[in-house]
Amino acid sequence: MQARQHENRGAQMAALRRLVEEKFPQAQPAAPVRRLRTGCPFLDQKGGLRRGALTEICGSPAGGQIALAALLERAREEGFFTGLIDAADAFAPTEWSETLLHRLLWVRCRQADLALKAADYLLRDGNLPLLVLDLQLAPEKQLRRIPLSTWHRFHRVIESSATVFVLLTPHPMVEGVAARMALHTQPELLDMYRSRADLVRELNGNIFERGDAQDFTLLEKSA
């Protein structure tokens, strides 16, 4: 009799636990955040780029390209493939070492909405562990037309995967990002003589990451 009561109580507790898990998923202990270290001190400030989440890197085109250089170099070192969705068809392969290009899938778009569709295809495909959507040189008019639901849809697609999805934007514009990195770069002509590795090392700015209460407020304000 006592044993049966004990069993019933156990079953009730398990059911209650399941109910709480379903109703309040945020109350559950968070799974450890998986990250990709890039080798760039600035991008790795918080441990690297989050996997299964959107990361927005905003700022000048020069900063975006230096960040891209860091990511491509990391892809080469780790031996994984990268996808670059180029919304303005502006990527110049001749400016890069051939070795870095061998693991890069370049998707050339002329319109931001096509770039978003292409990104959607590649995110759903899930074969590329690192995807970069470059919207930096896309016309402002096209960027303003992007519906906010796009970002939420991307978030839903990517959250269960291990893909790192980086958005290069001219200014903060993406809703619901896990991290936003605002670059402070002031390139000058003499930078043409400097090695790209040095430029990557000196990349700096501010990082706002979801999860840290103080930073989260800044993140929303910055958007």
Binding site: E98, T99, L101, Y121, N127, P187, M192, R196
Partner: protein, 483 residues
């Protein structure tokens, strides 16, 4: 021992392949002026329709008869099925375009039950929708004769004289003249023919009669005309009418893949390339070759590739048929280096690339590869990831350029040979600093010679650009940074 796999009513079987026909059916020779019937099925024979009649006569006997034209491509596919079955038994296979193949079974293990082996061939081919008659005998010609008589079950001939003696003379298919002479002599069976003295028959009736005697003697093992080319994995189908949508194409392709993948798996092969051909109603053909990123014999994977392509395909003419050919290969296993990772699902990735190409165009997706040239922006896009060279990359310097495609025309004022101001749709202002000129040229030895002069500039209001002068015309090639 030799065996013969014979597809009875070969042309009709080929024409009826992929069709569900239960009633009477006939295949006609479209090239003849009166559309003469070549072969009929048993249902048609039951309605007193026979080969040699015209299509009109056949329809008078049975108005619902299905009359089909000969389908040479489907006949070829059917023949390949027979060849493939033969090659599964022995490398020595002779294939006839008339729908039979002879196989030398000398390498089959001793003690094999011939009856069981023959039944297995019948069952295997029946699974693929082909009806065959199987005959086995000590010589190739006797095996063919045996197959022709094996209507209900496989015929295994151990005693050649006992088998051939009661056969009607017509089974040997003598020529018209020889047949007439023998009939005049009262020769009705092969036994009667063999009873004639051999040397005198040859003297009076010539080489043809001698060849016929050899054929049934059971002593003469003629050499086989061996099949040299490997079997092709292809299927073809002609629609009765022009189709307007992709559904019928997909339906037929699915059935093709079912059959072809089963064949591939039987011989431990995978599909490396798919060749899709769609004949159109203006007698032209639309063709497309699909390289399978990770060769496979999975029907679903191959079908998805075809489906993705057909979903976005737009044709000016209507399809009247479909052909699918698979190039097989051995299954491969990739051995990656310690820190190298492969694509998780290469076929899904190939499908995604096909979708991207349909969305953006064929030359908008790929792996950028540099050409061996100093020409600015000279590259091409590869379809697959190449093997990266070992070792670290050559160090890069400076900021990466973002190109304007096409380059923006710009008006540039120079001072002391250096650009001083510029005015264009993308950048306007005074130039604070400039670096250059970087002179580039190439192909000076032919008509495609080019020469350009590039400058990197910084505007006083901010912004780094690359401008170029070619034939006294200035353009903004791209930007490093914009203000």
């Amino acid at each position: 021992m030799f065996t013969c796999l014979l597809a009875p009513s070969f042309r009709l079987q080929a024409a009826l392949r992929w069709r569900d026909s239960r009633g009477s059916a006939a295949v006609v020779d479209e090239m003849s002026t009166k559309a003469v019937i070549l072969e009929v099925n048993r249902a048609a024979e039951a309605r007193r329709i026979f080969a040699g009649m015209t299509a009109t006569q056949a329809m008078a006997h049975d108005p619902r008869i299905l009359i089909l034209p000969r389908a040479p491509e489907q006949e070829s596919c059917l023949n390949q099925l027979l060849a493939e079955r033969g090659l599964a038994l022995s490398p020595e296979v002779e294939l006839s375009p008339e729908g039979f193949c002879v196989i030398n079974l000398h390498n089959v293990a001793a003690g094999t039950c011939w009856q069981q082996l023959a039944d297995e061939q019948i069952a295997h081919l029946r699974e693929q929708g082909v009806v065959v008659q199987v005959g086995m005998a000590g010589t190739p010609d006797l095996a063919i004769l045996a197959a022709k008589t094996a209507i209900t079950h496989a015929a295994i001939i151990y005693d050649a004289p006992a088998f051939v003696t009661p056969l009607p003379l017509l089974a040997l298919e003598p020529g018209e003249a020889l047949r007439a002479i023998l009939q005049d002599w009262g020769i009705r069976t092969v036994g009667d023919f063999l009873a004639l003295p051999g040397s005198e028959v040859t003297e009076r009736l010539g080489a043809e009669a001698q060849a016929l005697r050899r054929k049934v003697s059971g002593q003469h093992k003629r050499p086989l005309e061996l099949l040299r080319t490997p079997p092709t994995y292809s299927e073809a189908y002609d629609f009765d009418y022009e189709v307007d949508t992709t559904e019928p194409l997909l339906f037929v392709l699915r059935r093709f893949l079912d059959a072809l993948c089963t064949r591939l798996r039987t011989v431990y092969r995978v599909a490396q390339t798919l060749h899709l051909t769609i004949p159109l109603d203006d007698r032209s053909r639309h063709s497309r070759v699909f390289c399978i990123p990770s060769p496979t014999a999975e029907i679903e994977v191959l079908f998805r590739i075809l489906e993705t392509y057909l979903e976005t395909l737009q044709l000016r003419q209507r399809p009247i048929g479909v052909r699918l050919c698979i190039e097989p290969s051995l299954p491969t296993r990739d051995q990656l280096s310690l820190f190298e990772s492969a694509l998780r699902d290469p076929n899904l990735f190939g499908e995604t690339l096909a979708r991207l190409k349909a969305l953006l165009g064929n030359n908008a997706v790929g792996v950028p590869m540099l050409r061996d040239s100093h020409r600015p922006d000279d590259f091409f896009l590869a379809d697959t990831f190449p093997t990266p060279p070992p070792g670290p990359p050559a160090p890069c310097h400076g900021l990466p350029l973002r190109r304007y495609r096409p380059a923006e025309p710009v008006s540039v004022q120079t001072m002391n040979g250096q650009p001083a101001t510029l005015e264009s749709a993308v950048a306007t202002g005074n130039i604070a600093q400039s670096m250059g000129p970087y002179r580039l040229s190439g192909h000076w030895w032919d008509k495609e010679s080019w020469e350009t002069e590039e400058w990197d500039i910084e505007l006083t209001e901010g912004g780094l650009y690359r401008i170029a002068r070619q034939d006294e015309r200035w353009t903004v090639e791209g930007c490093y940074d914009v203000c």
